[in-house]
């Protein structure tokens, strides 16, 4: 499989690998995928509770290069965004940015799911109703 330069770049120099303190009230954690399917993505956001903007984002991914790149890119995009804008990130934006081939679209779906799961975790901690997640 030939990977795009952007995928290779994210794979070789992943942005924002790491772990945020999931016990904190303003940290949302999304863990999606399953080891049997060959991909598990954990994406975390830290939210400024006053402004509602995402101040930090971290990921760890067990998966193929496209999955690693999708989650790395997602954390880059999330930082500085409001929750509302973060919800607008569509998996096809990731596909386009990383030039993912059709067989790798599900890697980007996983990243979108991880974003939504992280946001929902944050919302649940703050007694807000969950937003609908399309493909979990």
């Amino acid at each position: 499989m030939a990977y795009s330069e952007k995928v290779i770049d994210h794979y070789s120099n992943p942005r924002n690998i790491g772990t945020l303190d999931k016990s904190k009230n303003n940290v949302g954690t999304g863990l999606v995928g399953a080891p049997e399917c060959g991909d598990v993505m954990r994406l975390q956001i830290e939210v400024d509770e006053v402004s509602g903007t995402i101040t930090d984002a971290k990921f760890k991914t067990f998966g193929c290069g496209s999955a690693i790149a999708s989650s790395s890119l997602a954390t880059e995009w999330l930082k500085g965004k409001s929750i509302d804008d973060a919800l607008k990130i569509d998996n096809m934006d990731i596909v386009e940015e990383l030039a993912l081939p059709p067989v790798k679209i599900h890697c980007s779906v996983l990243a979108e799911d991880a974003i939504k799961a992280a946001i929902n975790d944050y919302r649940a901690k703050n007694n807000l109703a969950p937003i609908e997640v399309h493909s979990l």
Partner: protein, 404 residues
């Protein structure tokens, strides 16, 4: 200077040995005749080349030259052996026994025959990849005509107890076929020593060219016959028609001769290199050797790295050409069926690498492979949420994963 990428996928195919190529070259130009042309020297010379090669092939496996049928490769040989016996011995029975870890060329041939009325038993192997002989004994029935068990597995290199398997088959009046594609030229595969009735082999796994192989068919004690699967001009004593691939056959013969002379020293050298590679990689935490350690080919190893995903790993070892799962099935994201039949969980099956060394592999290349693999595994674990959970002592099996 090390030339990258490094080729360590010699179970998929090997380069042609320059000495093999030299032997072949005249047969493309000067000696281009059709080996079946009986009326002129062009044909006679080509036939001489074929006759000599047939002896070279026969000598490697302890056969006589009349017992060698040239084919296009091991896939065809397996088809001819299994379908040919099924048709030829239809009156005796319709039951075939094989393994779940066989190459697709055997499995899919058996599946095809099932549609035509064959009864096939696919025996499971033990967790080390070896067949339990008691299972074979128990599976044999009065209508069993053929036991087909591979000599050495293409993914894990495990060598089956061939002599014992052949003896059990014979005790019950069944024939014994072995797909010895991975073993011939690497270890002793003497057909008489092992009691083999039919044996499939191919040139391109032993430094010969692609597209040429052979089926050994025993002529004495017992005299074995197969029904031809390709009809036509009656070449190869009617068992496989088609104008002979003379340059390929000559190269195959040369490769067999070289293997006979050099197999011992190659195996001794390669097993030392293989062990060094293997031991270094097994120093990594949570890495596991797949398959039996004592009964296997000298030049390959298969290792799983837990908490690392296979495709990501392949990307990390970009300068070494290795395979995760069999080369024939790696186009799909399905984990290797061979590793799964050893009882490996999907995650371990997904994260395996197969390294296959060759006559041309150097120590320097092995050093490089060790370093790049270790770096990739460590880097990916650094990125892996599963590794983090494992390190925190979380039981991954206890988590309710959202499967998709």
């Amino acid at each position: 200077m090390l030339k990258l990428p490094i080729y360590l996928d010699n179970n998929a195919t090997t380069p042609v040995d320059p000495r093999v190529l030299q032997a072949m070259l005249p047969y493309f130009t000067d000696i281009f005749g059709n080996a079946a042309s009986r009326n002129h020297p062009f044909g006679w010379k080509a036939e001489e080349g074929v006759d000599y090669a047939r002896e070279q092939v026969a000598n490697l496996i302890g056969a006589s030259e009349k017992e060698i049928i040239f084919t296009s490769g091991a896939t065809e040989s397996n088809n001819l052996a299994i379908k040919g016996v099924y048709e030829m011995y239809a009156e005796k029975g319709n039951h075939i026994i094989t393994l779940t870890t066989e190459h697709k060329a055997v499995l899919d041939t058996c599946k095809h025959l099932e549609k035509l009325g064959a009864e096939v038993t696919y025996l499971e192997v033990q967790s080390d990849g070896l067949l339990n002989l008691a299972d074979l004994e128990a599976a044999i029935k009065p209508n069993t005509i053929l036991v087909s068990v591979m000599f050495a597995n293409n993914e894990i290199g495990v060598i089956q107890p061939i002599k014992e398997i052949a003896a059990i088959a014979h005790k019950h009046g069944a024939l014994f076929h072995t797909d010895a594609t991975q073993a011939v030229g690497k270890v002793n595969t003497d057909v008489n020593e092992y009691g083999i009735d039919l044996l499939s082999l191919t040139a391109h796994k032993m430094y010969g060219p692609k597209g040429i192989g052979a089926l050994y068919v025993r002529r004495k004690n017992p005299r074995v016959k197969v029904t031809a699967q390709i009809d036509g001009g009656g070449h190869e004593r009617g068992m496989r028609s088609g104008t002979l691939n003379v340059p390929g056959i000559v190269g195959f013969g040369k490769a067999c001769e070289l293997a006979r002379l050099e197999m011992g020293q190659d195996a001794a050298r390669l097993s030392i290199m293989r062990d060094r590679l293997e031991n270094s990689l097994l120093e990594l935490e949570e890495s596991y050797l797949n398959g039996n350690k004592d009964h296997r080919l000298p030049h390959c190893t298969n290792i799983s790295f837990k908490y690392v995903e296979g495709e990501g790993l392949m990307m990390g070892v970009k300068d070494i050409a290795v395979s995760s799962g069999s080369a024939c099935t790696s186009a799909s994201l399905e984990p290797s069926y061979v590793l799964k039949s050893l009882g490996l969980d999907d995650d371990l099956a997904h994260s395996s690498l197969r390294f296959g060394l060759s006559r041309f592999t150097t120590d320097e290349e092995i050093d490089f492979a060790i370093n790049q693999t270790k770096e990739a595994v460590m880097k990916l674990r650094e990125m892996s949420p599963l590794w983090e959970m494992f390190k925190e002592g979380i039981d991954l099996k206890a988590i309710a994963w959202a499967e998709h």
